[in-house]
């Protein structure tokens, strides 16, 4: 009891501190909790670029703090609480596993705003969730991959069999099969987001099995290096541009660009207009960036890919447009129908044509 009272009073003091903000007397303090090191060159790196963009945008009006390598679970809960106690006004928690801890801490600090990446729980009015429609980028990759493969075998390095990753596989497959009905996907699950050794092994196995395109849903550049070594294999950068492997094997990339969102939400806290919501933005809003398509891609394919990017951005095309069947042959989407966000968010099946089972 004593503890909760203490926390509540601390929160109240902070709340008062926060109230002073609207007058512009105090800096807005923005905290970031990272699951990996900022130097990972992928997921956490891009979130940190977002943090730096917030600093660049607001200058002296903000103070940002971050803690990296924070394990999911009680450690993350402690770090978030600590940031809130230290007077943070807005805290971005940037890993799926921070979902319950974020909501637990949000309950204790009603005046601090929390933003949880890639989750779905918003149990308190001071919690928002946000994620990016990476599957839009996967559609473009699938198109390029389907056009460029000669062996008709496309390798895919999956991290964990969760909806986010399955959605990407489906989106890439749909668009590869659309331009190349003979295409075959080989999927290897590595059960990690970042492990260069495992990723390199997976890439080598896929290449040995005849894949001349390797797509990855993991964050290291190891698959790029493996493809470069093998020669004649194309890859795509993941999370960040991985431009050091351009123009070949890396022919394009999906880039997470959190900067516009982080700036907008920080602005909302400054203006007092922040409210709880779920954001799921794609290419259109600039949350998903498509890295430069290199000259290794034929001109006509590049033009088609850019046209698709434009259509995805303005909403005239949806990456999941029927007719589509599920893997077992049952109907998924009728002619012209597009998948709703609920189905996409919980996607746990392959579309027709992909072989193999989703591991359970």
């Amino acid at each position: 009891m004593k503890f909760t009272t203490l926390l509540a009073s601390a929160a109240m003091v902070l709340g008062l501190g926060g109230a002073a903000l609207a007058d512009g007397h105090e800096k807005t303090k923005v905290g970031f909790v990272y699951v990996g090191p900022v130097g990972d060159g992928g997921w956490t790196y891009e979130h940190d670029q977002g943090r730096l963009a917030v600093e660049a945008e607001f200058g002296d009006k903000v103070e940002t703090v971050f803690v990296e390598n924070v394990a999911e679970g009680p450690d993350s809960e402690r770090v978030m609480t600590q940031m809130a106690l230290d007077g943070a006004d807005l805290i971005f928690t940037t890993s799926f596993g921070y979902m319950d801890p974020t909501n637990n801490v949000a309950a204790k600090f009603p005046d601090v705003k929390f933003e949880h990446a890639t989750g779905y729980k918003r149990l308190h009015p001071n919690v928002s969730t946000y994620s990016a429609r990476f599957y839009e980028g996967r559609a473009i990759q699938g198109h390029i991959a389907g056009k460029m493969t000669k062996s008709n075998v496309i390798g895919y390095i999956g991290s964990f069999p969760i909806p986010e990753v399955i959605r990407g596989i489906n989106s890439a497959y749909i668009h590869a099969a659309k331009v190349n009905p003979d295409v075959e996907f080989k999927i290897i699950w590595v059960y990690t987001w970042f492990d260069p050794a495992k990723e390199a092994d997976a890439a080598k196995v896929l290449i040995e099995q005849g894949a001349d395109v390797v797509l990855q849903h993991t964050d290291s550049t190891a698959p790029q290096a493996a493809a470069q070594e093998a020669g004649g294999v194309i890859t795509f950068g993941q999370a960040s541009d991985m431009g050091q492997y351009a123009p070949f094997p890396r022919v394009s990339s999906i880039i997470d660009d959190w900067a516009p969102y982080y700036i907008a939400r920080t602005q909302a806290v400054m203006d007092g207009t922040w409210e709880s919501k779920d954001t799921w933005d794609g290419i259109g809003a600039g949350m998903v960036g498509i890295g430069e398509i290199s000259d290794a891609v034929p001109e006509d394919v590049k033009a088609e890919a850019l046209a698709m990017k434009a259509a995805l951005a303005d909403g005239s095309y949806h990456a999941f447009t029927g007719p589509l069947n599920k893997q077992d042959g049952s109907p998924f989407l009728a002619e012209g129908e597009t998948a709703d966000d609920g189905t996409l968010a919980g996607m746990n099946f392959y579309v027709e044509g992909i072989e193999g089972d989703i591991p359970q």
Partner: protein, 360 residues
């Protein structure tokens, strides 16, 4: 000229002085490291060691010390028993994972029934799970003479795969929208390892750790088995002549350390962590090895060492957020602690002499 010579007897004074000396040296060299990174070394050291215990928000951090320290102490106590007898269980991390899976599984099997029997059953299941996982290297060693260091370590990676499989399959939350991870036990009253007194951080895992410390202390100082452990470690041949059965000792020591690690995992998953997830384990099983040696394999020393390690973790995270120290610097700092401790061990068995060697 400086030289070192063997002591006729290990120095009792040095055995106690070296841990303190190691901490002091770590502070000095850590301070140099922080200074090179452009931070005020005194402020950084104070943030790590002072802030969590006596700082403004100590009311929050002190309970966190127990939450972070309890699993470390519980595991380290078990490891110390084996280490004293020269039986090297390096796989506590795996036993911790399996204990958590069994404990959580036992609880979730009854969801949503509420009963006071569920939690004790989970404790039993967690202990048994950890014990059984440790019995694999134990039986293999006794029967086939395999090396328990390798087998127990390799089983950590097996346990991690098992954990991923459980998070994605058997124990997956049916209401989790297909995302990996079990139900949150914090929201299941009968299975929740809640704080016994709110706000103190005192949960059943802390109680179990204290009981384990007392039992280990009595065992080692007063019991025949404890004597056998110590003799086997210090003079294996004498132990053999003294009628100590090495096979039984291996089974006991590995089984006991597995059991305690399993308990630690079970208390963690049902309390501070709340759920089985792919990234549930955060390295307590490995850190506990450091804790065991830092505490001189002595139960009371381990309590102090566990709290000290917890302090560096909590203080380290505060230093990251408040001073912008990189996580890697904190890890180097923790690594220094073990390095100095092991390096200074030489002083226990040897003495440093200045001046020229005397001619005998």
């Amino acid at each position: 000229m400086i030289r070192i010579e063997a002591r006729p007897q290990p120095s009792a004074l040095m055995a106690y002085a070296t841990p303190v000396l190691a901490v002091v040296l770590t502070m000095i060299f850590g301070g140099v490291l922080f200074a090179v990174l452009g931070k005020d070394p005194l402020e950084a050291i104070a943030t790590i060691f002072w802030e969590p215990i006596f700082g403004e928000f100590a009311f929050f951090y002190r309970p966190q010390l127990l939450i972070k320290g309890a699993p470390l102490v519980l595991i380290a106590i078990g490891l110390a028993l084996g280490f004293r007898a020269g039986i090297w269980n390096i796989g506590a991390e795996g036993q911790y994972i399996v204990g958590a899976i069994c404990g959580a599984g036992a609880g979730l099997a009854f969801y949503p029934t509420e009963s006071v029997l569920i939690f004790p059953l989970m404790v039993l299941a967690g202990a048994l799970g950890g014990w059984a996982w440790a019995m694999i290297p134990a039986v293999l060693k006794v029967k086939f003479g395999t090396n328990e260091i390798l087998v127990s370590l390799m089983l950590v990676y097996v346990a991690e795969q098992l954990l991923a499989s459980m998070s994605l399959g058997l124990l997956k939350n049916p209401e989790g929208f297909g995302f990996p991870g079990s139900r949150n036990l914090q929201q299941y009253g009968s299975a929740h390892n809640a704080e016994i007194i709110a706000g103190t951080g005192m949960h059943w895992g802390v109680v179990a750790a204290l009981i384990a410390v007392i039992f280990a202390y009595v065992l080692l100082t007063r019991h025949r088995l404890g004597f056998a452990i110590r003799v086997t470690g210090e003079a294996p041949r004498a132990a053999k002549f003294g009628g100590v059965n090495p096979a039984r000792l291996v089974l006991f020591c590995l089984g006991m350390s597995g059991l305690l690690a399993g308990l630690a995992g079970m208390f963690e998953v049902s309390g501070p962590s709340g759920q089985i997830s792919i990234d549930f384990n955060v390295g307590y099983g490995f850190t506990a090895i450091i804790v065991a040696f830092l505490g001189r394999l002595n139960p009371l020393g381990i309590v102090a060492a566990g709290l000290l390690m917890a302090l560096t973790y909590i203080g380290g995270d505060i230093a990251q957020s408040q001073l912008g120290l990189p996580a890697a610097a904190i890890q180097v700092f923790q690594g220094m602690l073990l390095f100095f401790l092991l390096a200074l061990d030489v002083l226990t068995n040897y003495r440093v002499r200045f001046g020229t060697a005397e001619v005998a």
